[in-house]
């Protein structure tokens, strides 16, 4: 390359960069989404994508959205985020716990791109975290489960041993136990967020061992289908309503409602008022929805569940209210004491009465 072509190339690059900057400043805001499963999983990722579509409907041509499905949690996630940031995306939602470190790493390289990480706890100047208090919904599920079970065995398909999942097990167990002191939880760790065949096998194993209520913290509807095939087993929709399995086996659900949050945060970027934050909303704020409780649930139980929902929504009742002991019998919360958010966010222990150990 001689000097003239070098100069020419440099000038061309400069012009390109300038027009690029111009386009970035005046074009629509690009918002990116990273999904852990396919948008058609019928659960977790499906709801994030629904929220993305609502975001697009809300802002119209003021924004553009891009998304990448089924991104593995790990090094691949970093590549995908980097690619998005390089292509001019200014706000990136990374929607799974396992994207936590990749998000922090990539965010450090792109200080002018805003990142929003779901269900994590690490923040930075340009990384905010958000999550929903799903354990509030788990309390209601636990209550219905405890009242509905005839075998006193409740199966729980867990995904990964992270605080989010452990909180759900504890919350469901506490309220199932309150409703029915003889209740027992059998937990299977599937080590996946999404693998319909494995989720179906896990549900079958639990049902074959006598469970007649299946709770799931994985994303597909496969356990619902397994419960339906078995008959006499009830389930709850996870992340999404899973209403196609109503009125039975699916008797209620936890529905994630991310759209209001996504709209608010995107507006903040447009206005230039975006700041790193730690948002954790529940039933009261509308981030956690409780799907219709079907007629398969006895009226009394339904009324109790709805009363529980109202008291949680109004803040009158906290699902983790003492007296509560840890699994090893040591005291955790005294009579009337309420768990603080810090402990909940990092929860790594079972409450008293849950059998089995949490894998490391």
């Amino acid at each position: 390359m001689n000097r003239r072509t070098l100069l020419g190339a440099t000038a061309a690059t400069a012009i390109l960069a300038a027009t690029g900057a111009f386009a970035a400043a005046h074009g629509p805001l690009k918002v990116g989404f990273i999904y852990v499963g396919p948008v058609g999983d019928g659960g977790w990722t499906y709801e994030h994508d629904q929220a993305r579509q609502k975001l697009l409907a809300h802002f119209g041509d003021k924004i553009e959205t891009v998304y990448q499905e089924s991104v593995p949690e790990g090094a691949d996630a970093e590549r995908v985020m980097t690619q998005m940031a390089l292509s001019g995306v200014k706000l990136i939602f990374t929607t799974s716990f396992g994207y936590m470190d990749p998000t922090i790493n990539v965010a450090a390289k792109f200080p002018d791109v805003k990142f929003e990480h779901a269900t994590g706890y690490k923040t930075a100047d340009n990384v905010a975290v958000y999550s929903a208090r799903f354990y509030e919904g788990r309390a209601i599920q636990g209550h219905i489960a405890g009242r509905m079970t005839k075998t006193n065995k409740i199966g729980y398909i867990a995904s990964f041993p992270i605080p989010e999942v452990i909180r759900g097990i504890n919350s469901a167990f506490i309220h199932a136990k309150k409703a029915n002191p003889d209740v027992q939880f059998n937990v299977i760790w599937a080590y996946t967020w999404f693998d319909p065949a494995k989720e179906a096998d896990a549900a079958k194993a639990l049902i074959e061992q006598g469970a007649d209520v299946i709770l799931q913290h994985t994303d597909s509807t496969a356990p619902q289908a397994a419960a339906q095939a078995a008959g006499n087993v009830i389930t709850f929709g996870q992340a999404s309503d899973m209403g196609e399995y109503a009125p039975s086996p699916r008797v209620s659900s936890i529905i994630d409602n991310w759209a209001p949050y996504y709209i608010a945060r995107t507006q903040a970027v447009i206005d230039g008022t975006w700041q790193s934050a730690n948002t954790w909303d529940g039933i009261g704020a509308g981030m956690v929805g409780i799907g219709e409780i079907t007629d398969a649930v006895h009226e009394d139980v339904k009324a109790e569940a709805l009363a529980l929902k109202d008291s949680i929504a109004s803040g009158a009742y906290h699902p983790f209210t003492g007296p509560l002991n840890k699994q090893d019998g040591s005291a955790w919360l005294a009579e009337g004491e309420v768990a603080d958010d810090g402990t909940l966010a990092g929860m790594d222990f079972y409450v008293e009465g849950v059998t089995g150990t949490i894998p490391n």
Binding site: G40, N186, Y191, F194, P196, K198, A200, A202, Q209, N360
Partner: protein, 309 residues
């Protein structure tokens, strides 16, 4: 802990079901690799078969027709691979990977309308008095026809490769395509047939996941079963009988570890979770290691053939 809660009869019945998609896909890939072609697109062909079979079964109400169309769908996708690698001489590894991505994408597109739909049930085969045998009847003789079809196919592929002239020619093409060509065999045509067969098997395996094992349609629902099938072919050192063993081991331990977890056995969950992979690999490697010095992989595996070279 409550080991008594695990019913061995139900356990073995579930493992036969869990292993069937892997047997079908691995068997197809075995034939493909025996002909000297490495098709890494098993996952893509499985998922395409899964949605083709699901859609057809839902529309016609006939699961059998679903399986037939799943086989055709898988074979059609495989023929794209065949066209690219056999006629246009593209790199087999890259083309196979692309096939997986393509299959995942196209299946999600076809599947848009089928989310949340329930497929017609695949009936259990009525084997008459066999099904009434205590224990064994429930364990082995109470399945749908695909489970037995897979077993028959294992025997068929084994016999074909070992005893027939066609099998010998297929293996010759896989070992040394230039020699086979010099003898007058149509290398490309034989490989085409093998690739189509592999695609059909993978498609049926995928349909088994969406029509029987889960049964519903969800994007990306095969979730890596195709990769397991690929690995089992290698660890089974390209033998049909060992493919069966490997698939049953893998399927069996996958189901067993979930049952052990549910029963609360005090073994760390991490160990239980990885046990299907570890045990299957160890057992198959151990068996393969006993045949000393035998180069088991087809010699022409993955190599591009052109009549001029």
């Amino acid at each position: 802990m409550n080991l008594g809660a695990i019913d061995p009869v139900l356990l073995i019945a579930s493992l036969m079901v869990a292993a069937t998609p892997i047997i079908l896909a691995a068997l197809g890939e075995l034939v493909v690799e025996k002909s000297g072609v490495l098709n890494l697109g098993v996952e893509g062909m499985m998922i395409t078969g899964a949605i083709c079979g699901f859609a057809v079964a839902v529309e016609t109400g006939s699961p059998v027709l679903g399986f037939v169309l799943a086989a055709m769908g898988g074979a059609a996708l495989a023929l794209i691979f065949a066209l690219l690698t056999q006629y246009l001489l593209s790199n087999q590894v890259a083309t196979g990977l692309a096939l997986t991505l393509f299959g995942l994408g196209i299946s999600a597109m076809i599947g848009q309308a089928y989310r949340g739909v329930k497929p017609p049930a695949t009936a259990k085969l009525n084997l008459g008095p066999l099904g009434d045998i205590p224990v064994l009847g429930r364990m082995v003789f109470s399945h749908d026809w695909v489970v037995y079809f897979a077993l028959v196919l294992v025997a068929g592929v084994w016999a074909f490769l070992k005893y027939t002239r066609g099998g010998l020619i297929l293996r010759a093409v896989g070992e040394n395509h230039d020699a086979a060509h010099a003898l007058g065999y149509k290398v490309v045509r034989i490989r085409l047939a093998a690739i189509a067969f592999g695609g059909a098997c993978a498609g049926m395996g995928g349909a088994y996941v969406s029509l029987v094992r889960v049964p519903q349609w969800t994007d990306g629902m095969t979730a890596g079963a195709g990769w397991i099938a690929l690995a089992i072919v290698v660890f089974a050192s390209w033998r049909a009988g060992r493919v069966l063993l490997g698939a049953y081991l893998f399927g069996g331990i996958s189901v067993l570890q979930l049952n052990l977890q549910a029963a609360g056995v005090p073994v760390p969950v991490e160990i239980l979770s990885m046990s299907p992979f570890v045990v299957t690999i160890i057992v198959l490697v151990f068996i393969s290691a006993r045949q000393k010095g035998a180069a088991v992989a087809p010699a022409a595996l993955g190599r591009i053939f052109h009549a001029s070279s």
